[in-house]
């Protein structure tokens, strides 16, 4: 898979010596500059070819493959996804400097953001945020045990993971889907922030990437055309069957329950069932974290 290849070229994001790792990307962000080394890497890789069908000399296969590649870029740094992750020239007219996506001038006609698939790309930064939350939970001790032993933390992580899966299997064009996806991304980030506590707010150290991802995601979402809040989505229209087929039973139940509660429908799970599902989803998320696999349904192996 090409996404695998790109991940291999990018290398371990948590390695402080990696010129395209999180430490280097954060330094560039602090300076308000685009990360030069990562830019060169993507230019060499010729990311633009991923948008061009094979018969025209490119590498485009299908949307799922393209999504996997772009998420790899967005997982590392959403700014790279915007600066390089699009097919045409990036001439968005006059833009604004936002508190997120530093180093870019962002306009509402930003080509990389001009896609209904955007929620799907946000699975990338959400993966990084969730991974940061899990890493901190396993590394940190509080009240005589690791943070990951606290039931509140486990359930919160389980639910953020369920939200990530829900966005992964969402049908992007269903009425109301896009706004719902953004709300889920923002709320999942808030949940992870609760788990990280004060560490969510630090601009240095192993959790610093969290605040950058949260800022960048907020900036990205804000640029999308406003969605009609009155559209009340129907769960059965929201999910893509070919993707939900990849979910294990507790995952599917969790996704349906999360969506139902957000939409103001009756919950899918009883309180006891929910406890059970939360436990199972935490274990899966923890296993994916320890095995260095993506949290999304592909569960692809990644460096790090």
């Amino acid at each position: 898979m090409t996404a695998d290849k790109l991940d291999e070229i990018f290398g371990d994001p948590w390695d402080d010596a990696n010129p395209v790792g999180y430490a280097a990307l954060l330094e560039a962000d602090e300076r308000g500059e685009l990360p030069a080394a990562a830019g060169r890497l993507l230019a060499d890789y010729d990311l633009g070819a991923e948008f061009v069908p094979a018969e025209h000399g490119g590498r485009f296969v299908d949307m799922d493959e393209l999504t996997a590649i772009l998420r790899t870029v967005w997982r590392r740094d959403p700014r790279l996804g915007i600066a390089y992750g699009h097919s045409g020239s990036r001439d968005g007219g006059t833009g604004r400097h936002l508190s997120g996506l530093r180093g870019l001038e962002i306009s509402e006609s930003e080509p990389a953001l001009h896609t209904v698939f955007l929620p799907s790309l946000l699975v990338g930064p959400l993966d990084t945020a969730l991974r940061t939350g899990l890493a901190n939970s396993f590394d940190r001790r509080l009240y005589g045990a690791t943070v990951a032993d606290i039931p509140f933390v486990r359930a919160t992580i389980a639910r953020a993971y369920a939200d990530l899966l829900a966005i992964d299997v969402l049908a992007p064009k269903a009425p109301g889907a896009e706004r719902l996806a953004y709300r889920m991304v923002v709320e999942a980030l808030s949940s992870i922030r609760e788990v990280l506590g004060a560490r969510a707010l630090l601009r240095s150290g192993p959790t610093a990437i969290f605040q950058k991802m949260a800022r960048d995601v907020a900036a990205v979402i804000s640029v999308r055309p406003r969605q009609d809040p009155r559209a009340r989505p129907q769960i059965r229209e929201l999910l893509r069957p070919e993707l939900t087929a990849r979910l294990a039973e507790p995952e599917l139940l969790a996704v349906r329950d999360r969506l139902a509660r957000r939409l103001g429908d009756a919950p899918v799970l009883t309180s006891a069932e929910r406890d059970d599902v939360d436990r199972q989803l935490f274990d899966t998320a923890a296993a994916r974290y320890h095995d260095r696999r993506l949290f999304a349904t592909t569960a692809r192996r990644i460096p790090g």
């Binding site: 604004r96 936002l98 001790r141 004060a198 969510a200 707010l201 509660r261 103001g264 939360d278």
Partner: protein, 561 residues
């Protein structure tokens, strides 16, 4: 028909001066990350620091309602400057609880001369887990020797005095720690080291740093209270400071609301007025909970183990919701460095991200609430409450009784009178006089009875299940709703003089705004807004947009700009 006097806030707002100028300080500070010295100088000149010492030690006043209002007034300009200045209140809270007279007199001298005092509770590996704190104070040479790292500390570099929680016994129990008052100038050189400023996402101007002790000798007279009472002193201090933290949320949310509601091109979205109304309603609920909380410091002192945990969770949560909804409405202008107020929105949003974390995060406060569930559930069902204390907590603007710190208790014996008094206030004349409000109050009361039944099923455990945290969050929202009703009932006369009070507008909108999140937490289906709710929100939006255009108050107990 007396309006609530806004004199102290108005005087402070005037002392802070031109808003354009203070905003330049805020914007510059956020960029350079320098300490907000110019703000501090103005606040000192006003005498705000004099509120941080009790009157018996020469301070200005111990009226926590007034202090809350003052902090809110600063916070709606700059949250970081408020936290930087107000930190002396937390730093000294252990002193007024436990100090001997000569210690209190020395700290009062420092505070009244404008010296910053810090509080060193957190440690790098323990955070809010105070009982497992590892900085030690070992008896040595007639005094104590300190060893270990306290981090992060607000005003960790600038404070002349620090209250420090340290371990004085090996076992980790409620009595293994002691509180010390340290005069930094008296620490032997070379026995301690300053840790650098922490770079943070919001509140960038704070002196958030730390201190590392390596055999620092302090005299025996530095001990605050008896040996082994450090955790108790810390928890009682936090009851006061957690309640007062809510001022930050009120200020930030009001700032955000004004940035959106002031005349300009920001409300071009068709549903803009509706969002503004919903946010104003949530802010009104936060204000009610917070004012009742601050007055409970005096009227219901023994219940602060509950009240402080509730207020510290619910005010930031409601303000986060307000800021989030307004950000969605603003689109990229929310995060623009030169958007509304030249980047003010993105700054206040970043600054406020920190409020739900400091002085005990929301999960920490909810856990402490859950620990008190058995009694809270029983009393919520029975409705017994301290009527006199509750009346004092709701008597906005009336100088309260002196705070009796001896009445602070680690676990409330009477539960939470604010919520337990809901049935009575729902049956009070001012509530019954409005049929729509009366129906909403009865609905809220019915919800609290379902809630008490769910709470009673939670088995006490050192690590409560997630479901208990959701019940705690629901309890907080019910508290906010009850606070709205108490304040309405106490001051329904204001309906003749204040636009937001006409036809119970604000309290009805607030109860509607709380009902959605409450249903979600309790796993109950949420119906679409009723015509009555839409009508109420429509009227509120008109009132808020008018008030914002006139720079008038945008909350029921707010003040003009």
């Amino acid at each position: 028909m007396n309006r609530v006097s806004a004199a102290p806030e108005a005087a402070l707002d005037a002392a802070l001066g031109d808003r354009a100028q203070t905003w330049r300080w805020s914007a510059d500070g956020d960029r350079t990350e320098d300490y907000p010295s110019k703000y501090s100088a103005r606040l000192d000149a006003f005498g705000l620091h004099r509120y941080y010492a009790p009157p018996e030690w020469g301070g200005a006043s111990d009226d926590h309602e007034v202090m809350l209002r003052l902090w809110r007034t600063v916070a709606r300009r700059d949250l970081a400057a408020t936290v930087a200045h107000g930190k002396t209140y937390l730093g000294t809270a252990p002193v007024w609880i436990a100090a001997r007279p000569e210690q209190a007199a020395a700290v009062a001298d420092a505070v009244l001369s404008g010296a910053p005092v810090g509080c060193a509770l957190s440690e790098p590996e323990h955070g809010a887990d105070l009982v497992n704190g590892s900085v030690t104070a070992t008896a040595h040479d007639g005094g104590f020797r300190l060893e270990g790292v306290k981090w992060p500390i607000n005003n960790g570099t600038r404070s002349t005095h620090l209250t420090v929680l340290t371990r004085t016994a090996d076992a980790s129990t409620a009595r293994s720690h002691s509180m010390f008052l340290i005069d930094r100038a008296a620490l032997p050189p070379g026995s301690w080291r300053q840790l650098p400023k922490v770079r943070t996402h919001g509140l960038r101007t704070l002196d958030l740093s730390g201190i590392s002790f390596s055999g620092a000798q302090i005299p025996a007279s530095a001990l605050l209270g008896a040996e082994g009472t450090g955790i108790e002193i810390a928890l009682k201090s936090l009851q006061l400071t957690r309640t007062m933290c809510a001022a930050m949320s009120l200020g930030a949310a009001e700032h955000a609301l004004r940035l959106v509601a002031e005349p300009g091109p920001r409300l071009d979205e068709p549903r803009g007025p509706e969002v503004v109304a919903r946010c104003a309603a949530l802010l009104a609920a936060a204000e009610a909970a917070t004012l009742v909380g601050a007055r409970s410091v005096h009227g219901l002192t023994g219940e602060l183990s509950v009240t402080s945990a509730v207020v510290k969770s619910v005010a930031p949560a409601l303000a986060d919701r307000v800021i989030g909804e307004l950000a969605e409405l603003l689109g990229p202008r929310a995060w623009s460095m030169d958007g509304p107020g030249q980047g003010a929105f993105q700054k206040l949003a970043r600054d406020h991200d920190v409020v739900s974390v400091f002085d005990g995060s929301t999960p920490v406060n909810r856990a402490s609430l859950i620990g008190q569930f058995p009694r809270l559930a029983r009393r919520l069902a029975s409705g017994e409450h301290d009527g006199d204390g509750l009346a004092e907590a709701a008597a906005i603007g009336v100088p309260p009784r002196r705070l009796d710190r001896g009445a602070l208790s680690l676990a409330s014996r009477t539960g939470c009178s604010v919520l337990q008094g809901l049935a009575d206030v729902a049956a009070s004349d001012p509530v019954r006089a409005d049929p729509g409000l009366s129906r909403q109050a009865a609905g809220l009361h019915a919800t609290t009875l379902r809630l008490s039944s769910l709470m009673s099923q939670v088995r006490p455990a050192p690590r409560p299940p997630m479901a208990a945290y959701e019940l705690a969050a629901a309890y907080e929202l019910c508290f906010a709703g009850a606070a709205c009703l108490h304040l309405w009932s106490a001051r329904a006369d204001l309906r003749f003089v204040e636009p937001l009070w006409q036809d119970a507008l604000w309290v009805r909108a607030a109860l509607y705004a709380l009902s959605g999140p409450l249903a979600e937490l309790l796993g109950e289906p949420r119906p679409d807004p009723s015509p009555d709710e839409q009508r109420i929100l429509g009227r509120l939006s008109t009132a808020i947009l008018t008030a914002a255009a006139d720079s008038g108050p945008v909350t029921p107990f707010g003040t003009a700009l």
